[in-house]
């Protein structure tokens, strides 16, 4: 058992930006452990994504099969097991996504090994793997020692700086055969309207609304502000829980962790679990009637005022500026 195996992620056949963040996290760990860095991708037709996944891998394993897209947990596990069998790593890193958080824990149970999910820090201490992750809604950081063979970690996206342009060694294609029908069968997929056309976690500008909006009838204020500056629409957990908007828009620990250049939070009190999900945003703006809202502790700029007055003024000027 030696080596750090890093799984990338693909969306519609192209490499997800988080993949190169995983490569960076893996490279640092591989160096600290003095073990080789190995990459892997799971999908159907991976040549284009593989060319993008230049993470400086000793070997890049491509797990390919018709059954691997659209995603099902069973086939993802079969593919990952093939990669692990091929390189016998001591540590395996996965981007933390709605998919990996379903299938990686089952994989851990199958392999009877240790896993910590949604980590924001990875350290080698001697041979020990010590990981950290925010808990209690992000108000507290926990450190765990992970044991087992291999040790599994899902890594929060938007935390590590992407590693790009490091040439890889050999590419090894592994065909993953279709498995016998299981007890879970995918019928079909229904795509909701994308959040502002971009996946929330890759969005550069996000306008997000919270319970302070008062009700779903006021949601158009958020959509209009996002549209005026070409941003995506986000929301806090209470808004998603109340069904005002689809939870695909939910920003925070239990929703999507984001890292935009600009995050505008409107009527969001700033519960720790929300603040944790935006911790990698460059510039944060809080708009809230309550000047004592926790959101202002994270914000770079604050507007204490009624969003029903502030946002129309903001939208009008933004439209002038942007022509």
């Amino acid at each position: 058992m030696a080596g750090v195996l890093v799984f990338g992620d693909t969306v519609g056949g192209t490499l997800a930006p988080a993949s190169l963040e995983m490569a960076a996290a893996g490279a640092a760990l591989a160096q600290a452990l003095n073990e080789p860095l190995v990459g892997a991708l799971i999908g159907d037709g991976l040549d284009a994504a593989a060319a993008e996944f230049a993470g400086g891998f000793a070997t890049l394993h491509l797990l390919e099969g018709k059954e691997l897209r659209p995603y099902t947990a069973r086939s993802a596990i079969a593919a990952a097991r093939a990669a692990i069998d091929a390189c016998k790593p001591s540590v395996v890193l996965f981007p933390h996504t709605l998919e990996t958080r379903e299938w990686v824990p089952r994989l851990a149970a199958m392999l009877d090994t240790g896993l910590v999910m949604d980590c924001t820090g990875l350290n080698a201490e001697g041979g020990d793997l010590v990981v950290s992750k925010p808990v209690y809604g992000g108000g507290v950081m926990a450190q765990y020692v992970v044991r087992g063979a291999p040790r599994l970690v899902t890594v929060r996206t938007g935390v590590f700086e992407a590693r790009a342009g490091a040439a890889s060694g050999a590419v090894n294609k592994i065909a993953v055969a279709a498995s016998a029908a299981g007890r879970v069968t995918l019928i079909d997929e229904h795509k909701a309207q994308a959040a502002g056309g971009v996946r929330l976690k890759d969005a550069k500008v996000i306008v997000s609304g919270g319970r302070g909006l008062g009700g779903p009838d006021n949601w158009h204020y958020i959509e209009e502000a996002a549209a005026a500056i070409g941003g995506s629409v986000g929301c806090s957990r209470p808004v998603a829980d109340s069904g005002w908007v689809s939870s695909a828009h939910q920003v925070g620990l239990s929703g999507t962790s984001v890292k935009p250049d600009l995050y505008i939070a409107v009527g969001i009190s700033g519960a720790v679990q929300h603040l944790a999900g935006i911790s990698n945003s460059s510039t944060v703006v809080a708009i809230n009637l309550d000047g004592d809202a926790d959101m202002f502790t994270r914000a770079n700029y604050g507007v204490v005022g009624d969003y029903k007055d502030v946002l129309p003024g903001f939208v009008a000027r933004a439209k002038e500026i942007r022509g």
Binding site: R101, E102, P105, G138, V146, I187, E189, T283, D309, G313
Partner: protein, 262 residues
């Protein structure tokens, strides 16, 4: 349909960040005085879904918890909402176990109760957001799983059609029973207990099981908590002032434009 729902008691997730404190060994948080722990929110959604299934199809609901004796409060709440029976695994050796230990203990308890048609769990708990215990239960009992489930669309004999949340929509999935589902908050809004339910909860006997009752051998932890650290936040925002909200909004747009952000 016989259903087992797993219920975890957690620190109230609405504790303001500044009020979180750690116990002296730095491994647990202490809830501020007057803020009692609560049933994990996703578990409440799982229980609500179980009650709706029982209302539509009949059957029996058993809630199963693992924690210290204070966790009886959440199990009583579950009975008050509509669960028929509650069982607590309150073995001190298990309470601080890792996900594998806790998942296997819950699986052993489920075997002792008798495998139901459906095991419903919250997708994760709001304290550590670990999201693993349900999968260790499922692997231990060889159950198919779907996580995170946002809707149970149809019950058809020994098959369920469910919706699974994906980044940009949902998957429709058929799953054979017996199965385990990890429920997400979109699925429903959990009910408040009725007066009749609260009275029933007052009379409810909650069994307490130890590792020996469920035939569980000691296990070496695969994940070990080393320490917790409080995260401090001190940044202060630069406030945008103005004669009116509308003016503040315009000034904000100007500021962000100056910075090249819009």
């Amino acid at each position: 349909m016989n259903i087992i729902v797993t219920v975890k008691q957690v620190a109230d997730p609405n504790i303001p960040p500044a009020h979180i404190q750690l116990d002296p060994d730095g491994k647990r948080i202490i809830s501020p005085f007057g803020v009692p722990p609560v049933m994990n929110g996703y578990d409440a959604n799982a229980l609500e879904e179980a009650i709706r299934l029982k209302e539509a199809h009949g059957g029996k609901i058993t809630v199963l918890g693992l924690g210290d004796d204070t966790s009886r409060e959440s199990l009583k709440m579950a009975v008050a909402m509509g669960a028929d029976t509650a069982i607590l695994i309150n073995d001190p050796d298990l309470v601080n176990g890792d996900s594998a230990t806790i998942g296997r203990a819950l699986a052993a308890a489920i075997k002792k109760i008798g495998l139901p048609d459906l095991v419903l769990c919250g997708r994760q708990s709001s304290d550590t957001d670990g999201g693993q215990v349900l999968h260790w239960i499922a692997e231990s009992l060889d159950l198919p799983t779907v996580v995170p489930v946002t809707k149970i669309e149809a019950v058809d004999g020994n098959q369920l059609t469910v919706h699974r949340l994906i980044e940009d929509g949902y998957q429709r999935i058929k799953v054979e029973l017996p199965a385990l589902l990890g429920v997400s908050s979109e699925i429903n809004e959990a009910r408040h207990p009725s007066v009749r339910g609260t009275m029933a909860a007052g009379r409810a006997m909650i069994s307490g099981w130890k590792a020996s009752d469920i035939g569980l051998a000691a296990q070496t932890p695969k994940v070990e908590l080393r320490e917790l650290q409080i995260q401090l936040r001190t940044t202060k925002a630069e406030l945008i002032e103005g004669a009116s909200g509308s003016e503040q909004g315009a000034k904000l747009a100007d500021k962000l434009h100056e910075m090249g952000l819009i």
